[in-house]
Symmetry: C2
Subunit: 478 residues, 2 copies
């Protein structure tokens, strides 16, 4: 055993024990202190370096904790690691320019279908409930809560579903999660691994992509003006079908009552069959009553209901929920209840208060008027171009589909718009088989564009698609 | 075509159009209006019922929207649905008593390993940042953000990892998610479906359960006092190994530097091999420096680093993150970037501010002292019982393991404690193979029990396990 000739610097911020620890660690990793060799005793080393035994002990303890050194009772300290253990920096740091996307953009108007109106969000109310909730008296909310979500929130959701969607579902059947993606991932675990899924095509592409990232088969199912067709379902024979019955995404069709009955009957025929009803924007219907949910017609307990606050409130809140039929709920409680809730408890209580105090209802009523006005404004602006551009699905929701018959293909339509600083979304992006329709169709999420900017945005868009027509011209000349 | 003899009640809140709509819908679903039959024209029905044409139109439009009725141009309105379509309430509402668990509890002290100290959370600071963030000027935060998480937060995490964990990782390699479960579910999608996983046994049981809910094979891997053993890994030959190197859960062992090197070398041998490092509570080390992360030694880019704010801040916040090595990051960006972030953007910005302003560091320093005191108090209280009860892993983290050699089996230990109002957790619950150790071991998460309650809680616990011993007796008599 040699003494350790460590040079300690007392004029630095680095504690002496840490200098000693680093010195010994380097001696080991660089091979100068070999595996099995004995270190000086604490007392001897302390004397030699003129430091306290405590300092040596702290350094030795750290080396022991990290496995470099072992302490054998009544024998002393021994090196337990061999050389060539140098710490190196992780090799996976990509240079900034490689992966950090350029955020420069010349887009002035974005018609993204996931966007909502952000200017009329009740910040003051939300802030008030946040302030109430983030309080020492609620300190128990800091711990993990119910895996299905806070009971208070589920109760509010249950009330809402009863009054707004005609559904009687108990809070016990509701599972709250951080977005439809997270909920779907859990849901998929409740089905067998050879379950075959059917999705509307065109449809909500996220669902298809999630399903496709699992090893299951996914069948595209045709949609016409009554919604999803049931005969192809009977032929293709999937186990679980994903639908948007109240407002088909993207066409806006309502699944007809006949199709609903057929679909429910199809599902009732076999135990393994289920229907996933995504009721993503049913809050926004501008004429008449809201369309009843498929779930409210479900006698056989075959409908899994998916709801979300992404459209009705804000998408970045990441709060969605699903209502499970009894057999699936039992399976969930047996197999998946160990998953922790994926939503902050504080956020859940903020939302529960917001709903309980009537702010959610007020917000919906207010937004319904704002969105209706936006929609009317667009219809009005499109009207002079109606020979070329027609609107599909203008009764409800936060988006419409434009069918554009000007001789351009879908790509051209999108490119022309982008060049004019307007971002629109091609329908084929929402088709599993990338089907191109004729005439080509464009999805226009109108919710996120401020009301006062709509005239310029829509007029600019239409002008790049439809150069001045005789009819327009004559109007201008009048 | 008959006229519709609908009785309209003008003395109710229900709008006339809705009464008419309900009447016609019932006529259809109850079979009195048959499929294909023609409805009266709007004008005729309006005259007959002495209401405005507008009212009839609204009712008809709703029936059309729901698919009960079809409007044929120049022909009129026709019933499109057949009878027996009655709406029924969903059948899946379980009576409250059946599924709603009894929440009655006689537990006074809960030593759950996931609990943290909730009394010293900086509510005022958090509320301040929440107030700053929930503001109209941040209205763009309401829309969906970066799928990997807000850049501002990832930058703070990257800084933290550099200073606290010796890791150089760029914000681009970090993915923020709503808890380790959500992140793991994404991560698993990046591996092949026949990937075999290895987990520490005993270990963090949640991981094993998540892995087991996927169809992949999961091998339990033995742990000794240097951490996970590498030879069995080489034999069992899994592809991906899950470890807690800085502080093994639940034993508290630090993976020795030799084992670290072996493990990293094992992973480097094959492209498909990866190590998942769960660094769940490395913030809380009460003597010496923190243990370097395995990731900081990772030359070959084989370590996936998992971090969380569940221990360092609060578990109910649901913010965790992972750092992906380059090949996995590329795969993530290619295949999974369409998943939306699972964490509220507002929450991400609150946390980013909390970190940026130094509050996170202050909180950690404060909590380190509080937890250290709690740990010291427990050691002190256990000391008189040391012949029967010994503490394993007392250097760090928020839990310890008690090895209890009083002749009772694990179940008895837990039951006796529960009967005394004290909830403790058996080690076998954290073993994939439900292995029972001898002497039996109990996990004690001490973070959530207030400091002033520890003496009573621990003394009560020890007294039900170890009836008064001669030594205690002699002390009492003194």
């Amino acid at each position: 055993m040699e003494m350790l000739s460590c040079h300690l610097n007392r004029d630095t911020d680095l504690p002496l024990y840490e200098q000693l620890y680093i010195y010994i660690k380097n001696e080991i990793t660089e091979g100068r202190l070999e595996y099995g060799s004995k270190l000086p005793s604490k007392r001897k080393l302390a004397d030699f370096l003129n430091i306290s035994q405590n300092t040596v002990e702290t350094a030795y303890d750290q080396l022991i904790a990290e496995g470099y050194v072992e302490s054998l009772p009544r024998k002393g300290y021994f090196v337990m690691a061999s050389g060539d253990l140098e710490y190196v920096q992780a090799a996976d740091v990509p240079p900034n320019h490689e992966l950090h996307e350029e955020k420069q953009s010349t887009i002035r108007y974005n018609f993204h279908p996931s966007w909502v109106d952000t200017e009329n969000f009740p910040f003051a109310q939300w802030r008030k409930y946040a302030k109430n909730t983030i309080d020492k008296q609620n300190h128990s909310l800091l711990l993990l809560g119910d895996a299905q979500g806070e009971f208070a929130l589920r109760q509010e959701i249950s009330n809402y579903l009863y009054h707004a969607r005609g559904m009687q579902c108990s809070p016990e059947a509701i599972i709250v999660g951080a977005g439809v993606e997270v909920l779907l991932q859990q849901l998929l675990l409740l089905f067998n691994k050879d379950t075959i899924y059917g999705v509307e095509d065109p449809g909500y592409h996220l669902i298809s992509r999630i399903l496709k990232s699992f090893p299951n088969d996914v069948y595209p199912l045709e949609v016409d003006d009554e919604g999803i067709q049931v005969e192809p379902i009977e032929k293709a024979n999937p186990d679980v079908v994903y639908v948007t019955p109240s407002h088909h995404f993207p066409y806006g069709t309502v699944l007809s009552v006949n199709r609903r009955t057929q679909l429910l009957n199809w599902a009732a025929e076999q135990e393994s069959r289920y229907i996933i009803e995504d009721d993503y924007d049913s809050e926004f219907r501008y004429t008449g009553k809201s369309i009843p949910s498929l779930k409210s017609m479900d006698q056989a307990g075959k409908v899994i209901y998916l709801g979300s606050f992404s459209k009705s409130l804000i998408p970045s809140l990441r709060i969605s929920y699903m209502v499970l039929p009894k057999p699936l709920l039992k399976r969930y409680k047996r197999e998946l209840a160990f998953y922790h809730s994926s939503v902050s408890r504080i956020d859940q209580h903020i939302l529960a208060q917001f709903m309980k105090e009537g702010d959610f209802e007020r917000h919906l009523n207010r937004m319904r008027k704002i969105y209706r006005r936006k929609l009317e404004k667009i219809s009005e602006l499109v009207k002079p171009y109606e020979e070329t551009v027609s609107i599909i699905g203008e009764r409800s929701g936060l988006h419409i589909v434009l069918s554009v018959n000007n001789g351009m293909c879908e790509d051209e339509l999108v490119q022309k718009a982008t060049a004019a600083g307007i971002k629109v979304y091609p329908l084929s992006g929402y088709s599993l088989g990338k089907n191109y329709e004729n005439p080509p169709k464009i999805i226009l999420g109108f919710a996120g564009v401020p009301e006062e900017e709509l005239p310029t945005a829509i007029t600019n868009l239409l002008e790049v698609w439809v150069p001045v027509t005789p009819r327009n011209l004559s109007k201008t000349e009048q």
